[in-house]
């Protein structure tokens, strides 16, 4: 993996001129500004899709098949992103309540219930009107995707398609092209892609346009390449972005604009910005004292306050498993072979969605591997009631990371949607205690510095 500050083909000179000539002020903060603008524009597009009689597909972040949808001119609606916005904008509670009145249990996925509430209210969302689906295409990366789509099937009587992507069978046992088990999986995925295309042809009354598909895949290639680089860039010290808060903005664009020229341009600019920050030692808006990895889903009902619990102690999230799985495995930087678009789409989906799943089920290995290169002082696990896909293995994952490394860890439980499950005071107590422990470790590190060759991360220390 390349270091954070080295010049690569992603560097600004690739754009035909040194962007470092521009004033730093026009670069720094651009990603956040442009991300917010693109997000608004995307929701505006969705808001008028139904009026224009345009089709919309309800899809999910892990394996959205946006490239195919774009080649048919079908809008993509991401109910997970809608849900996140409902929570951040503090309307999720009402929608969850509506879904529970409809019959859903207090113990099932909050994203799902927020969406059911939204649909029952006719799609009125704080960001704009959400169009009804013409179809749903979802992978099995999360089983709730399937149960969720069944609700739309019943509610709207629209076709739904489960694109079944076999995942890794056991830790460290991924298979690769040429191996008999990989080829069995690939043929299955390829066959299903043809079935999805056939479904889209029926719905739109259009044939697949391979050139449009190639164009979308070209943009996704750029986005994936830049996404991988973006993640690597946070090896910089100080970190050039907050992987939890800024990362959520990046994820929104990554999913909403996947396969689009605006998305490719955005991430090209974003990497340029982060290269600039890395080269000039510019970090985030606070002084970085501790470098942290985040595992789980952020606490969206109190998003700002949740982030501040860490930043006020100088805790900087330099990495997040969220950026791996919720990007649909874009962290691999997988590049489609445009000469064989359908075959490559099948292989790419298999490999990247599998990576998404690995980032949830087997992420202990990746976390252990990132400790040294990213200079991780602590790993924060945020287990949420709503999402068993992400949360079920976290406590055990933490045990594995603690056994293999000497980084500090924090395990917390609340929710990413349902404020009733979020106890701010309890969370803060746990976070404060975590940082007090980190401070002690830091003090020991200073003491140990007098004894050469003793690294706290690699060797020992208070846990």
């Amino acid at each position: 993996m390349s270091s954070a500050s080295e010049s690569t083909r992603d560097s600004p000179v690739d754009k035909g001129g040194s962007s470092f000539d521009k004033g730093g002020s026009s670069i720094v903060g651009r990603g956040k500004r442009d991300g917010n603008r693109l997000f608004q524009e995307w929701y505006q597009e969705l808001g008028t899709a139904a009026e224009r009689n345009e089709h919309s597909a309800y899809v999910f972040v892990m394996g959205s098949l946006t490239e195919i949808m774009r080649s048919f001119g079908i809008h993509t609606v991401f109910p997970e992103i809608n849900g996140l916005q409902q929570a951040v904008r503090r309307v999720s509670g009402d929608d969850i309540g509506l879904a529970e009145d409809y019959g859903f249990s207090a113990d099932v996925c909050g994203y799902l219930k927020a969406d059911v509430g939204l649909q029952l209210r006719g799609g009125e969302h704080p960001m704009g009107k959400i169009p009804p689906p013409s179809l749903s295409v979802h992978t099995n990366a999360c089983n709730t995707y399937i149960k969720w789509a069944e609700i739309w099937e019943r509610m709207y009587k629209v076709p739904i398609f489960t694109l079944d992507i076999p995942g890794t069978r056991a830790a460290g046992r991924q298979t690769w092209p040429g191996q008999v088990d990989f080829e069995n999986d690939r043929k299955y995925v390829a066959g299903q892609i043809n079935e999805v295309i056939h479904l889209c042809e029926q719905i739109t009354d259009k044939k697949l346009d391979l050139d449009k598909l190639r164009e979308a895949m070209t943009h996704t290639n750029t986005m994936s390449r830049k996404w991988k680089r973006l993640i690597e860039l946070n090896k910089s010290s100080p970190a050039v972005y907050n992987a939890m808060t800024d990362g959520t903005v990046f994820l929104g664009v990554m999913n909403g604009y996947r396969g689009r020229p605006e998305g490719a341009e955005y991430f090209t600019d974003l990497v340029e910005e982060m290269e600039y920050k890395a080269a000039n030692g510019i970090g985030t808006a606070f002084e970085e004292k501790y470098r942290l990895a985040f595992v789980g889903i952020p606490c969206y009902p109190i998003f700002r306050g949740f982030s501040e619990m860490f930043t006020e102690w100088g805790g900087s999230f330099v990495g997040s498993s969220y950026l791996w799985y919720a990007s649909g495995g874009a962290n691999l930087g997988y590049q489609y072979d445009l000469d064989h678009p359908l075959e490559s789409l099948a292989e790419g989906l298999l490999v990247t969605v599998r990576e998404s799943m690995d980032s949830m089920f087997f992420s202990d290995r990746s976390l252990i591997e990132m400790v040294e290169p990213y200079g991780i002082d602590g790993v924060v696990y945020h287990s949420v009631k709503s999402c068993r896909t992400v949360s079920t293995g976290l406590a055990d994952n933490r045990r594995a990371v603690m056994e293999a490394t000497d980084v500090a860890t924090l395990f917390m439980e609340s929710d990413h949607m349902d404020k009733r499950v979020v106890s701010e005071a309890q969370l803060k107590n746990r976070v404060d205690a975590f940082f007090e422990g980190l401070a002690v470790r830091s003090q020991r590190r200073i003491s140990n510095a007098a004894a050469p060759g003793q690294s706290l991360r690699a060797r020992g220390g208070h846990r």
Binding site: F104, N143, I151, A170, N184, K187, G191, G393, R399, F411
Partner: protein, 389 residues
């Protein structure tokens, strides 16, 4: 290797005593039959709910053992999970961590997000292989059966490594034959429940079914072939009780006392308890490619559950059909606490039953619950309301 019989002598006892023996085995968290198998040198494939192609493990001479939790406290497993989780996941791991059950291979399935995580958790804590068997979740793809045949071939290779020998096609065919006979006998058990439920209360039927998940199928076949005629010859007389269909027991299992409570007021004429043992509803035709036969039957000769999506078989329609086919008057819908698929399905079930005008009773449960007083009163009231209106 010649393996010993795992069940105690029952042939010299009455049918009631044999059923009681089964019940004690089913409720015993130490799983003595599995221990006996291991003590005799046998190997065990533990597979988590719901469905597993047990024929493959059987053909290798191993004992397929259904891991479905137990009414135990998760003393050690609790530290490996967070709070918001179904009980079966925690107690299943507890069985292994506490040494009650020792396996040679553990297999989980993508039935739900918790179960898929379980293989990873298990794998981090045990030296023996732990893996996910990716049963197809797109049952409607024309490519699903071919894929599954390949996935079964992969599983076969894994099992061969553990067994230490190849599994021949003839061995597979022989195992399919043994399991076909088991399916036939379980259908007969279902027929008794449906036609003469006064002869076989729900908890007793369950005991006879569940014991099959912890003994070789040949032994289960012998037991069923011995006991079913005796049950048919029972002298109990029919009573004026409501005929019910019970649904929601596809993964975490309700305590036997809960089933006993329900059986006190009603006749459970059909259910989905341990549906994985009855997933394939007909005999599997045994041809030239037994793995293909097994794969095709998973998709084409099978039941339904909240963890399988098949456009041809909407779950709520299947439930309504089941109620009508068994001439039941109402449904009992149970859902394990914190079970996403089960709880999600409750909504679809109740809407469909409302549309059909079929009464239903909904309750959450946990495998470790011990107090049934409140449930008994609610159920009694529900049934009395139906009987008197």
């Amino acid at each position: 290797m010649r393996m010993p019989r795992l069940l105690d002598d029952y042939e010299s006892r009455s049918a009631d005593e044999a059923i009681r023996m089964c019940r004690e085995l089913v409720e015993d968290p130490d799983f003595p039959t599995v221990q006996r198998w291991r003590e005799a040198g046998g190997k065990v494939v533990g597979h988590f709910q719901v469905y597993f192609p047990e024929e493959i493990a059987h053909a290798a001479g191993m004992l397929p053992f259904k891991v479905r939790g137990a009414p135990v406290e998760a003393r050690q497993a609790g530290a490996h999970f967070g709070s918001y989780l179904c009980s079966i996941l925690k107690t299943s791991l507890e069985l292994a961590l506490s040494g009650r059950v020792t396996l040679d291979l553990f297999v989980s399935h993508p039935i739900c997000d918790s179960a898929r995580n379980l293989a990873a958790v298990w794998g981090r804590n045990f030296e023996y292989p732990c893996e996910i068997l990716y049963l197809p979740q797109n049952a409607n793809s024309v490519h699903a059966a071919t894929y599954l045949r390949g996935e079964y071939a992969r599983l076969t290779r894994e099992i061969e490594k553990i067994a230490g020998h190849r599994i021949t096609e003839d061995q597979l065919r022989a195992s399919l034959g043994v399991f076909n006979e088991n399916r036939r006998l379980l259908r007969e058990l279902g027929e008794i429940k449906r036609e003469t439920p006064w002869l076989l209360p729900a908890d007793e039927a369950y005991s006879l079914l569940a014991v099959g998940a912890m003994i070789p199928r040949e032994e289960h076949n012998e037991l069923l072939a011995w006991v079913l005629p005796k049950i048919r010859r029972g002298t109990a007389l029919p009573q004026d009780r409501m005929r019910l269909v019970l649904t929601g027991g596809f993964c975490e299992q309700p305590p036997l006392d809960l089933l006993h409570t329900i059986a006190q007021f009603s006749y459970v004429v059909d259910d989905d308890l341990l549906i994985g043992l009855r997933w394939i509803t007909e005999d599997i035709p045994v041809g030239a490619d037994p793995l293909a036969d097994l794969a095709e039957s998973y998709l084409e000769r099978s039941s339904c559950s909240p963890v399988q999506h098949d456009l041809r078989r909407p779950k709520e329609k299947m439930l309504v059909d089941q109620i009508k086919a068994t001439n039941a008057g109402a449904a009992i819908i149970i859902a394990a606490k914190m079970c996403d698929p089960g709880l999600d399905e409750v909504v679809a079930y109740t809407k469909a039953l409302d549309d059909e005008g079929i009464p239903y009773f909904v309750s959450e449960f946990e495998e470790r619950m011990t107090n049934f007083d409140s449930l008994q009163i609610q159920l009694e009231t529900f049934i009395e309301n139906l009987l008197f209106t």
